[in-house]
């Protein structure tokens, strides 16, 4: 047995922290040591804890420790009604709360066979794409900051604020939206919605150019990200990665394209894929995804129809006995929502397949052999949200 309980870990007595094997891959002459990164560390973006096995600055192994924000959302969901559960999905990946809501609502709609009016579908698509841009903007700022360029953080937030304002005007909240309901959304769009989106589209075109000049083109940034954390196609698939992490490795899989939900099949957009799957590929891919989302928004704004925004409304939803699954493409990858219903007002079991969790598992594969500073780069481009890891 290689593993020891973490409480017994005493480095002075030659102890090994939980998750590491006694045998080391380092050379005999090196003096390896363990470094605890997090749960309070600026670049683990929350309360993720990593235990690193280092030889000087070189990484020999990484073991992530999860569970610091485990709230048992899946268990809580069993004790709440279907409608109440929608607001729990806000708290999975709080940067794509609209998309999470959509995933859950779609599972319910599937069960109850609820149709969505045309306008409702358009609202959903537009909001989801706004949410994707908003999430990517935050990621762009934060990943720049992880690499030491603090200014990008504030530039990213500057544009993000416009989108957050749209959400606030629309549903009154800026982070935990709880906007979508089975059959549409709880309110129609406001008068300012379309003009504001047009403004965002205009600004995003300029902003993306600016981002490319400031960070993408920067020689230091390219040196820091190119050929770091290369993820092969096979590894990415075998670990069940999704989203930009998978696509950067050259696998063209986007739920919006491969398994179109809502009305995504009506819009023209490309699924960008990377070539070798290093940090720079993952980065460029996300920038390109923002451009593609802007493209979808441009089309949706043109053809935004009039009409009802929600099909039907019930006080209590009771899903017929059976199991229901829906999947959506959040800003981070594939979010699967699986509901097992027994006919009552509360689900028997709810399972969320969160993208961040699968994407984080490859960390050890990517980090070994690189420097300590590269772990931060890899973490930044994996783009996880810690509450989405733990749920």
């Amino acid at each position: 047995m290689n593993l020891e309980p973490v409480n017994n870990f005493n480095p002075d007595e030659g102890g090994i922290p939980e998750g590491f094997s006694r045998t080391s891959s380092a050379t005999k002459s090196s003096e390896e040591y363990f470094l605890n990164m997090g749960p309070q560390h600026p670049s683990t973006h929350g309360v993720l804890r990593l235990v690193l096995r280092l030889d000087g600055e070189s990484v020999l192994g990484v073991v992530p420790h999860l569970g610091y924000v485990h709230r048992g959302l899946e268990k809580v969901a069993e004790n709440q009604t279907y409608l109440q559960n929608i607001h729990l999905t806000d708290r999975l990946d709080y940067l794509s709360s609209h998309i999470n809501n959509l995933g859950y609502c779609m599972a319910m709609e599937q069960a109850l066979d609820i149709g969505i009016p045309e306008r409702g579908e358009y609202i959903r698509v537009m909001i989801c794409e706004l949410q994707r841009i908003q999430s990517h903007l935050l990621w762009w700022g934060v990943s720049g900051m992880d690499l030491g360029a603090i200014t990008t953080f504030l530039y990213g937030f500057k544009e993000r604020e416009l989108i957050t304002d749209i959400f606030e005007e629309l549903c009154g909240a800026r982070l935990t939206m709880n906007f979508f309901r089975p059959g549409g959304s709880f309110a129609d769009v406001t008068d300012g919605f379309i003009p504001r989106i047009k403004q965002v589209i205009e600004i995003m075109h300029k902003a993306l150019d600016e981002y490319n000049t400031l960070l993408t083109g920067n020689i230091i940034f390219q040196e820091r990200t190119k050929n770091i954390g290369i993820l092969s196609k096979e590894t990415a698939l075998s670990y069940g990665c999704s989203g930009a992490v998978l696509r950067a490795s050259g696998v063209s899989y986007d739920v919006r394209k491969n398994d179109p939900y809502s009305i995504y099949d009506r819009f023209e957009f490309d699924v960008p894929i990377g070539s070798i799957g290093d940090c720079f590929d993952r980065y460029c891919l996300k920038i390109e995804e923002m451009a593609q989302s802007v493209r979808i928004l441009e089309q949706a704004v043109q053809t935004f129809p009039e009409g009802p925004y929600r099909s039907q409304q019930k006080a209590v939803y009771k899903l017929p006995k059976g199991s229901y699954y829906s999947q959506v493409e959040t800003a981070r990858g594939l979010l699967g929502t699986y509901i097992v219903a027994e006919g009552g007002p509360k689900p028997y079991r709810v399972k969320f397949r969160s993208p961040s969790f699968s994407n984080l598992n490859i960390l050890n594969e990517l980090a070994v052999g690189h420097k300590l500073a590269d772990i931060v780069t890899i973490l930044a481009t994996l783009d996880f949200v810690v509450p989405d890891l733990d749920r």
Binding site: Q80, L83, Q84, I86, H87, L88, T151, K158, E161, D165, E168, E169, L170, C171, G172, A173, T176, N178, F186, A187, T190, E210, T213, L214, L215, G217, N218, I219, I220, A315
Partner: protein, 154 residues
């Protein structure tokens, strides 16, 4: 061959240098344009702050001039709330009808999910626009939303 490698190296250095200069061009653009500043001076601009019409600040119960509200103490909001935030304490008036006695709202437990407002059949509760709720004691976050004898005077 060697000359080519040397040229590639030098051009990489020059291009890298230019890329740095271009980045510096972006930041200096911001430095010399105060119009791009997005910061708001928050407590100072409190007077001119405009909250969005649908802003979800807290649950409140609107009253008319006579101090009347629409709540019938049906308790649907209490049932809809995912967190046990709301307690509707019904009482009977002189004619024996069920009326609202006390509408207790525990702001410290509220996730502002809007479900109670949606479920209310009478439109008796709405989302308020206030957001400055920092207090020193959690007890201070338990509100009675309807105007009763005691809190109407006080």
């Amino acid at each position: 061959m060697k000359k080519q490698a040397c040229c590639a190296y030098l051009s990489k250095v020059v291009m890298g240098f230019i890329s740095l200069l271009r980045g510096m061009g972006v930041t200096i653009g911001y430095f010399f344009s105060p119009k791009k500043i997005v910061t708001q001076q928050y407590p100072e601009n409190r007077e001119s702050l405009q909250m969005m019409a649908r802003f979800r600040g807290h649950v409140s119960m609107p009253h008319n001039e006579k101090g009347e509200h629409f709540c019938t103490a049906c308790g649907i909001c209490e049932k809809t709330c995912p967190n046990g935030t709301i307690s509707v304490l019904a009482t009977k008036d002189l004619s024996g009808r069920k009326v609202l006695g006390k509408y207790i709202y525990r702001f410290s437990q509220c996730t502002l999910c809007n479900l109670c407002i949606e479920s209310c059949p009478f439109g008796a509760i709405v989302m308020g626009k206030d957001f400055e709720f920092a207090v020193y004691d959690r007890e201070e976050l338990i509100f009675t939303l309807n105007q009763t004898q005691e809190n109407a005077n006080g």
